[in-house]
């Protein structure tokens, strides 16, 4: 990436030093808090971590920041792949959800923060990793990951606390603060402080990171890869699994519609106006799955792990444009006709009338069309009779069916991913003649 490894290290040594110093300061603050809370052991632990960060910072200022061992990098890159990353994140989030009573403890969360900071610091000395992460337009994504972690933790700890109270027959904690306070001065001053802090962050950010400006626009030179702005990179990632217009038009419309429909499709009157998980596990689970896994995670994959030709690259892997890519290239129709039935895929007669041609195409895709049809037509009533019986009874036929269809539409995405990984399947229904591939 950089012509000269040494030059690169010199450039980042200073910022790395400040990074470690801030990490050290945060830990010392935590240690101070623990001391005041009469928890000497914990204070000692954070103090030790803080000192470690101080040593790392000193090494960085000295021009020689500690680096992740090559063996570690290789191991991480060897393990990282679309499958392990997606499934791994899913399992981790699932584990966090199940073990939330443990993970919301401030000490556990803080230890997690320290591990992530250490990982980030050690990785930043890798030129390839740094080249992607420090790209000006990618800085906000790193910030977003930390903010999301912070707020997910904050909301989960409020929810765990409330759930415990609700279990004891008490009201949620917010209820204890139901008495009114005057907007002036309390709210106005809170807003003022918030505004000043936001301005300060924005100014520091603007002074330290210059807005990118590349070569003048040139329609003849296509960068490889071309990436959409980061908030749409998750959608772009879907191009791997479906057609451009489905990804670019149908999916966004479905997401927007689905989001707007949420208040009308959630029949649960509980959990309005306070944090809780126990009183609305289904809504909570579905939303977190869609938001954290399907929206945020795909943005991360698209931004940090996609390289030339939209190939998947490890965090430290050099972006080699000649890397051989695994392709999903077997259509379901080919599986169905050739492999399972042992006959050729029916051909569409070129000279037939357009209606007859369409019939041929349908016949060729009969397996996929039937499967998709069953998925959307048969599964909703089936779910309503089994897993989601209670919801079905609460919501009535129409609303339940709409909810189930939207939910199933969302689930096509992970299902398609799994099919791609396990069967090398490109499309379930492939009708390029009618611009329709699924």
């Amino acid at each position: 990436m950089y012509g000269n490894e040494h030059e690169f290290l010199e450039r980042i040594a200073g910022p790395m030093g400040w990074f470690y110093l801030s990490a050290c300061a945060v830990n010392l603050l935590a240690a101070g808090r623990a001391l005041r809370g009469r928890r000497p052991q914990r204070a000692g632990a954070w103090g030790a971590v803080g000192l470690t960060f101080a040593v790392l910072g000193w090494r960085a200022f000295d021009g020689n920041p500690a680096a992740m061992p090559e063996a570690c990098k290789d191991a991480i890159d060897a393990v990282l792949g679309p499958v392990t990353f997606t499934l791994g994140s899913f399992l981790i989030l699932w584990g966090l959800y199940l073990g939330r009573r443990v993970f919301v403890r401030p000490a556990v969360a803080f230890a997690g923060l320290n591990v992530s900071l250490l990982f980030l610091g050690l990785s930043l000395t890798d030129a390839q990793f740094a080249a992607v992460v420090i790209q000006p337009d990618n800085v906000p994504i790193v910030a977003m990951v930390y903010l999301l972690a912070l707020f997910t933790w904050l909301s989960a700890s409020a929810a765990v606390k409330n759930d415990r109270r609700l279990g004891q027959g008490l009201a949620p904690a917010e209820k204890d603060q139901a008495e009114k306070a005057l907007v002036w001065p309390d709210l106005v001053y809170t807003e003022l402080i918030c505004m000043i802090l936001a301005s300060a962050v924005l100014l520091i950010w603007s002074l330290s990171v210059q807005a990118p400006l590349e070569q003048p626009a040139n329609p003849a030179v296509t960068p490889n890869p071309s990436k959409a702005p980061w908030y749409f990179v998750g959608l772009q990632e879907l191009l791997v699994f479906s057609d451009a217009w489905i990804v670019g038009v149908v999916v966004p419309c479905l997401i927007a519609f689905g989001l707007m429909a949420i208040p009308y499709l959630d029949p649960n009157p509980q959990g309005s106006g306070y944090y809780t998980i126990r009183q609305r596990p289904f809504a909570y689970g579905v939303f977190q799955f869609g938001f954290l896994l399907l929206w945020v995670l795909l943005i991360l994959v698209g931004t940090f792990m996609r390289g030339p030709n939209w190939g998947f690259f490890g965090l430290y892997e050099v972006r080699d444009p000649h890397k051989v890519l695994a392709l999903g290239n077997v259509k379901l129709s080919e599986y169905f006709w050739t492999i399972w039935l042992g006959r050729g895929v029916p051909q569409v007669a070129a000279d037939a009338g357009s209606l007859a041609q369409f019939g041929h195409i349908l016949w060729r895709e009969i397996a996929g069309v039937t499967l998709v049809g069953l998925y959307f037509v048969a599964l909703p009533p089936l779910l309503g009779r089994t897993l989601l019986r209670r919801l079905r009874a609460q919501m009535g036929f129409g609303r339940f069916t709409l909810m189930a269809v939207l939910l199933l539409a969302m689930m096509t995405l992970p299902l398609k991913m799994i099919l791609r990984w396990t069967m090398n399947l490109s499309y379930v229904v492939s009708m390029p003649e009618c611009f329709f591939n699924l």
Partner: protein, 234 residues
């Protein structure tokens, strides 16, 4: 009388604020009711809503960032011409010549921050179940605001007219263009023709979408009040 009191007692001060200093309960109520900006708020709110731990301040920060973007955006418009000939050169000039050199940075990073804060705001509203009756419609208004925020950011991304911007937008517009019948072969072709795109995006970015967003924000805030203020346990 101290200087502060003298100012507060002066005819000028009273003519502007229409009530004495907000130091007692009566005047603290009056300041909120009679001030154009503050009267967006109710006079009093439940204490839990004051805690940053409840709202994360994200709605307010989004609104604040929208204002920052409006101000810096207007300033940028003084320097920027949306034509193939000038767009890129004006960017260079903004970087190298114009004083107050962080204008573009504040606008760009503010835009990124606004996308993040609006997503976090939605996340908060979901997690506190604040979309439940009677606030369903305000959630819908919110989703529209989310879409407008993304579109604002997207249309703005093109304006520097450098390699980064046109190819990022091309990725997006190619998807829209691939729509059968309406895209390549139909009206999409004309709407997204290269030379015109810059101007169209400019107008969308500087006029159409911000106006719409401001209107919807007005509706959003009004509905918060009409729906009974910030949500909380019953």
């Amino acid at each position: 009388m101290s200087l502060r009191d003298r100012i507060r007692d002066s005819q000028v001060y009273r003519s502007i604020f229409r009530h004495p200093a907000p130091v007692d309960r009566r005047n603290r109520v009056l300041v909120v009711v009679s001030n154009l900006v503050l009267h967006l708020h109710p006079v009093a709110i439940p204490k839990h809503a004051l805690r940053p731990g409840f709202t994360w301040c994200m709605g307010g920060i989004t609104c604040f960032l929208f204002l920052v973007e409006t101000i810096t955006g207007v300033l940028l418009m003084f320097y920027y011409r949306p034509t193939l000939e000038w767009a890129y050169n004006d960017m260079l000039a903004l970087r190298d010549v114009v004083s107050l050199g962080v204008l573009r940075e504040v606008h760009r990073w503010g835009a990124h921050a606004m996308v993040i804060s609006v997503m976090l705001h939605m996340y908060r509203v979901f997690l506190t179940g604040s979309y439940k009756p009677p606030r369903e419609f305000n959630w819908v208004v919110g989703v529209l605001l989310l879409l407008l925020t993304l579109l604002l950011s997207f249309t703005g991304y093109l304006l520097p007219w450098d390699q980064l911007s046109i190819w990022a937008i091309t990725v997006g517009s190619n998807m829209a263009r691939a729509v059968p019948l309406l895209g390549h072969e139909g009206p999409g072709q004309q709407i997204l023709a290269a030379g015109d795109t810059l101007n169209r995006f400019y107008v969308l970015h500087c006029v159409a979408i911000p106006l719409l967003a401001a209107l919807l924000m007005g509706l959003h805030f009004w509905r918060i009040r009409k729906d009974g203020g910030i949500s909380g346990p019953l």
